[in-house]
Symmetry: C2
Subunit: 145 residues, 2 copies
Amino acid sequence: MQISSRFTIAVHVLVCIETFKNDYKVTSDFLALSVNVNPVVIRRLLQQLKKAGIVNVVRGSGGTSVEKPLDEITLLDVYNAAECVEEGALFHFHENPNQLCPVGKNIHAILDTRLEEIQRAMENEMKSVTIQDVINDAEKLIKIK
Amino acid sequence: MQISSRFTIAVHVLVCIETFKNDYKVTSDFLALSVNVNPVVIRRLLQQLKKAGIVNVVRGSGGTSVEKPLDEITLLDVYNAAECVEEGALFHFHENPNQLCPVGKNIHAILDTRLEEIQRAMENEMKSVTIQDVINDAEKLIKIK
DNA sequence: ATTGGTTGTAATAATTATAGATACATCTAT
DNA sequence: ATAGATGTATCTATAATTATTACAACCAAT
């Protein structure tokens, strides 16, 4: 299984909001067209990003804006906001291992620390990239085409 | 979404094979009891580990053994063998972004390098832990209990 | 204050992925 | 031959995700 597409969609959404902020009112329908998903998916995601203090969504008249300096939003912030993995645990454990087996009984304790370290390595890398970095990449690429 | 439990099951299986190799014939039924899943799930997984050269499965008379020195099997080897993510890509992309939108058209190119780096950070950490390390942890914990 | 366009959210359906279960041919050692 | 395993196909069940529909709540402009 892969990490939910909510993550890449969230980044896509943030890049769009920033890219088009001067030329369009960036609504959930507008974003849904660019991402090519149902507008409700976008609205739900925007709510999550809003709760995390990353974006502001204007009720009634509509539109979205980024709430924080772009270089203070890391990919990890977006990842956490979008809740891409259950309860922050990257690895899925098989449930109910046999408690009568010494390995089954201890498998969680055996693996937990190691798995946490792996997860932390990933999250640290995510923390090192900001949305500003991504937008810089985006501007370069869009100009070429 | 989380990474498939096939990964933790695979590690569990390897620890079992090693722990019980002198006292039991470790069959798919035996392993299925410890992990508490259907024996077919174990057999399918063993086939994947076998293809990767990690274990040997004895047809007919039954039983399983580890094929390589334990300190030469990394968690990354097991992870790759178990095919926990589709085509090796950790992050799931939303499909068919709008090609008429400059952001939608380029979102893949914009994000690919960054996502690869994040994935690589995780994989490097996985590479640094061997099954021998895990079994050392296991032996310590099992003794205490 | 009505209207048009939008968000927020519930409810439900459709889709996809995973795991479970059954069945049985195949194999090996005895 | 037989008993006990594996290898694998097929089908079902379960779970998770995403899509869709619907509509109340909301805001700004006229």
